[in-house]
Structure formats: structure tokens, C-alpha cells
């Protein structure tokens, strides 16, 4: 009896039709979210800073009119994760049991592409959840070149900033950008509690990491190389400690590998099919022999 119920539950979650329905619902939910986010940006921006559970209890709970879609998204993604795991595991089990191993392993590996993609989706979702739930965020820290250092939490060291080689826009294609810094040329120096130092470049596209923290350049002043020494001279840093980032980045890479395997499988099958058709077409007709 219990086995029967378990099997029925398993079969329910293994349904590919359920995947289709869930994906259409997710598509609809996220499409309808666009105007709600656009009109209420200030509700959603803190999501990355305060963590998902705190956000759901505060911003989410008290603005249900325009955050309900996010709660629905969470439920649908949970269902999709269960469905993906059960469905992919069942299909993989069938493939490994029924595969004709004498056909060679290359074909089997390519056929694993869709399964790799499905498991990658699970890894990505897990990574996102970890990133939004467990990461530590220290927003709004400012530094001035050769000024006072900022200290990392729990006495994990301190940071100082210096300005070395700024790169100025020299394209002369967009007049507005003349004399603007493309790369402000900052160098971030980390000193641990033993006094050991390490320096790394900091720019919009370069986010160095020290002691498990990653440092993002949020803004900087001055924006332009005007030649004078007056005015604002500081940067805004966003600091994050997010080990889950490696999980979702791994998942993204895994998905792309799976997609490549799937595309290669389709390509090889089409090639085989067309060469078979060609061989058939060029085969001599028996009556002509």
C-alpha cells in the first residue's frame, strides 16, 4: 500500500507534462512581474543586501500587492526543482539500463547532455538560494586614496586604497566621455592581522577578493581627469562574502557543457540521417542491375 502511494507520488513528480505546465506558469509569473518591479524598484533593490528571508518577512510581506508574484515564483521554483530531480533521475536510470553499450560510449556521453542540463538547473537554483540566504553583505563602505583604512569584521584585517594608473577615455567618438576615467586605476591593499600585505587592482570589471570577501567598486569620484586637485576624491565599495557564488557559477558552466553535448548529439544525428538518405538515394535500383 505504502509502496503504491510512493510510486504514485514519484510518477506525479516525474511527469514531463508537469514540467511543461510549471514552466508556462513561471513564464507567465515573471512576465507579469515586469511592470510591478518597474513601478516599485525601491522594494526590490534591497533583496540583494538584506538576504532573501529577511526581505520576504519585511519588504515582501508588507507590500504583497506588488511582491505576491515573488512568493509564487518561490513556490513554482520549488516545485520545478522537485520535478526536475525526479524526472531527470528516472530518465537517466532508463537510459543507463536500456542503452546498447556495444554502440560505444561516445554516443552515450552525448545522450547524457539533457540530464547534465537538468542537474545543472538544480545546482544553479541551490547556488542562488545559498547566495541570497547565506551571503554576508557590507554595503556602503567608502575609502579615500592614501587615506584611513577600513576594517573587516571579526578583526580579519584592514584595507587601504591607492591610485596608480588611471585609464582615460580616448575614443573621441562620444564627446560626453572626453576626459572621463574608463578605469580609475585603483589598487586595493589588504593587510592581515599578522601584518602581511597583498595588493590587487580594483575597477568595475575587476573585483579582487581577500580573506574570503570580494570587493566591488560601486562608485568613484572624480569621474573625470580635469587636471585640478580639488573636489571629491573617494570610492564607494560593496563588500560581499558569498561562497555559494561558486556553486551557481559551477552550475552555469555545467549547463553550458550539457547544452553543448545536446547540440552535438542533435547535429550528429542529423548528419547521420542525411548521409543515410543520401546513401539510399544513390543506391542503384535493383531493376537497373
Amino acid at each position: 500500500m505504502i509502496l503504491k502511494i510512493l510510486k504514485a507520488v514519484w510518477n506525479f513528480w516525474a511527469s514531463i507534462k508537469l514540467s511543461i505546465v510549471l514552466c508556462f506558469l513561471l513564464a507567465l509569473d515573471t512576465a507579469l512581474a515586469y511592470p510591478l518591479i518597474k513601478m516599485n524598484l525601491t522594494t526590490f533593490i534591497p533583496l540583494g543586501e538584506v538576504g532573501i528571508f529577511t526581505w520576504l518577512e519585511t519588504y515582501g510581506r508588507y507590500n504583497l500587492g506588488h511582491t505576491l508574484w515573488f512568493f509564487i515564483l518561490m513556490v513554482l521554483l520549488t516545485f520545478l526543482a522537485i520535478n526536475t530531480f525526479v524526472c531527470a533521475t528516472e530518465k537517466l536510470w532508463h537510459l543507463l539500463r536500456q542503452y546498447n553499450y556495444s554502440a560505444g560510449l561516445k554516443s552515450l556521453i552525448l545522450k547524457l547532455g539533457p540530464h547534465v542540463m537538468h542537474y545543472a538547473v538544480l545546482v544553479i537554483l541551490l547556488g542562488y538560494l545559498g547566495s541570497y540566504a547565506l551571503s554576508e553583505s557590507l554595503p556602503g563602505r567608502s575609502l579615500t586614496p592614501d587615506g584611513l583604512p577600513i576594517k573587516l569584521p571579526r578583526g580579519q584585517g584592514e584595507l587601504t586604497l591607492s591610485k596608480v594608473n588611471p585609464v582615460v577615455y580616448s575614443g573621441s567618438r562620444l564627446d560626453f566621455f572626453d576626459t572621463w576615467y574608463l578605469d580609475p586605476g585603483y589598487v586595493l591593499t589588504y593587510t592581515d592581522r599578522e601584518g602581511n600585505s597583498e595588493s590587487k587592482a580594483l575597477a568595475y570589471s575587476k573585483s579582487p577578493s581577500f580573506a574570503g570577501y570580494r570587493f566591488y567598486l560601486a562608485d568613484f569620484y572624480p569621474k573625470r581627469n580635469t587636471g585640478g586637485g580639488m573636489g571629491l576624491n573617494y570610492i564607494k565599495l560593496s563588500i560581499r562574502k558569498d561562497p555559494s557564488a561558486y556553486v551557481y557559477i559551477g552550475g552555469l558552466i555545467l549547463f553550458v557543457i550539457g547544452l553543448g553535448m545536446y547540440a552535438a548529439d542533435i547535429f550528429l544525428r542529423r548528419k547521420k540521417k542525411s548521409s543515410l538518405t543520401l546513401a539510399k538515394a544513390t543506391e542503384p535500383i535493383p531493376s537497373e542491375l
Binding site: I20, I45, Y216, D242, V256, I266
Partner: protein, 253 residues
């Protein structure tokens, strides 16, 4: 040359090409004009990139689609005069309609911003353009299968499925490069400062559902074709309309 002038000239050429495609006598002329449109459209994209580099041009996610759509469609140029005529006409019309967005509702007054001067940002835009164009081609083949089927379909289900896979691959790469850019620039996979982020997710989920419809079995080729055709409308509404700026009466100069 001013890139917007170039775009409008290309759009006029395309309009004449559409008109000429409806009579057999002027079909060749229509194809010649289509051949002229293609380099002009790609030139426009080249100018936008050249102006913005090393940053990424802003709000080109729809304006840059028609040239790529025409480029992918041109892969079937040998069939344009024969069985692929319906596909050719619908390709011209869709390319023209999407181009109208930039002519009447341009959003070209935004300067690029410094955080877009990264490899992943460039990849994100390029894959967006390629993805949208490939998904439109899939929809056009599906439409061809549905409407021109009785008079000699040139688009078997395998063809719109193939473009679906190509489009989905580009779309996935566009999403993932966007996430990599977001992680390197802000430390988060999804930055909520721009609502457009959810429209990318919406289309990704829509096409995952569509791929499963093709792979699940039990769904007829016609029902799959209806969904693929609906995909064109979906991408226009969900991914192209948010790129629209305020209405402006177009002028050539």
C-alpha cells in the same frame, strides 16, 4: 554617417522590398532590395558598437534584431522564389515591423555606462540579438508550416525545432553571460535595479516549456507549431516592448 539616418533608409528599402515581394514580376527586385538591406542593417549595428566601445551600446536589444533576423533568414535564399515564398514574405514583414519600433519609439538618447565595459556585457547583448533573431526564425518556420502547409510547406517541423534549439542556446548564453557580468560587477547573479531582468527569465521559461512540448511526444506537429508561432508574439510583447522609448515623429535628417 548618422546611424539613425542609415537605419531609416534601411527601413524604407525594406518597405519597398515588402511591397515588391507580392507580385511575381517584381520578386527579383524585392530580393535585390533585401540583399541591399542586409549590409545596411549590419552596418548600423557596427556603427553603434564602434561609437560605444569599449562600453556596450544601450537599448539596442530590439533595434539590432532586424539585421540578424534578415541574416538568418537569408540562409534560405535559394528557396525564396519557390516553395519558400511564404516564408520570405513573412520574414520581410516581421523584419520591417520590428524595425518600426526604433523608427517611431527610439530609445537612443541614453549614453553607455562604465560598468558595461566588460567582455560579459558585450556577450550579453550579442547573444540577446542572436537569440531573439533565431527564435523569430523558428516562429516564422512554424507559421509557414501552419499556413502554407497545404500548398507545399517548405518548413517541416524539424526545421522550426532546430531553430528553437539554436535560439534557446543563444538565449541561455545571453542569460548566463548577463549573470556572469552581474556577479563580477555587483556580486549578485540577479541585480534588481533593472526590471527587464525578469523578462529574460520569462522567455527562458517559455522556451523551456516549448522544448519539452517538442520532446515529450503526444503533441501534434500542428499544436507545436501554434506554440512556436505564439513564441514570436511572446518575444515581441515581453522582450521588445520594454525597449520602446517615447513616440517621436520620424524624420530622415
Amino acid at each position: 554617417m548618422d546611424e539613425n539616418f542609415l537605419y531609416k533608409v534601411a527601413e524604407i528599402i525594406l518597405l519597398v522590398s515588402v511591397a515588391f515581394s507580392f507580385t511575381r514580376k517584381t520578386l527579383v527586385l524585392s530580393q535585390v532590395l533585401f540583399g541591399l538591406y542586409l549590409p545596411l542593417g549590419l552596418w548600423y549595428i557596427g556603427i553603434r558598437y564602434w561609437l560605444a566601445l569599449p562600453m556596450t551600446p544601450m537599448f539596442m536589444g530590439t533595434a539590432g534584431v532586424p539585421p540578424f533576423l534578415a541574416l538568418f533568414g537569408a540562409l534560405y535564399w535559394k528557396r525564396f522564389s519557390g516553395e519558400g515564398l511564404f516564408f520570405y514574405r513573412s520574414l520581410l514583414i516581421l523584419t520591417f515591423i520590428i524595425g518600426l519600433e526604433h523608427v517611431f519609439f527610439p530609445k537612443d538618447f541614453y549614453l553607455p555606462f562604465l560598468k558595461t565595459a566588460t567582455f560579459f556585457s558585450q556577450c550579453h547583448l550579442l547573444f540577446t540579438l542572436l537569440g531573439k533573431a533565431a527564435l523569430f526564425i523558428s516562429g516564422l518556420h512554424a507559421l509557414d508550416f501552419l499556413l502554407a502547409g497545404k500548398t507545399g510547406a517548405d518548413s517541416p517541423p524539424g526545421r522550426f525545432f532546430l531553430w528553437l534549439v539554436i535560439g534557446f542556446t543563444f538565449w541561455t548564453l545571453c542569460m548566463f553571460s548577463g549573470e556572469a557580468w552581474s556577479y563580477l560587477g555587483w556580486g549578485l547573479p540577479v541585480v534588481w535595479d533593472d526590471a527587464v531582468i525578469v523578462t529574460f527569465m520569462a522567455t527562458w521559461f517559455f522556451y523551456i516549456a516549448l522544448l519539452h512540448l517538442h520532446l515529450a511526444g503526444g503533441f501534434s506537429a500542428r499544436s507545436r507549431a501554434y506554440f512556436s508561432t505564439f513564441g514570436c508574439l511572446w518575444v515581441i510583447v515581453v522582450n521588445c516592448l520594454p525597449d520602446m522609448g517615447p513616440f517621436r515623429v520620424p524624420t530622415l535628417f
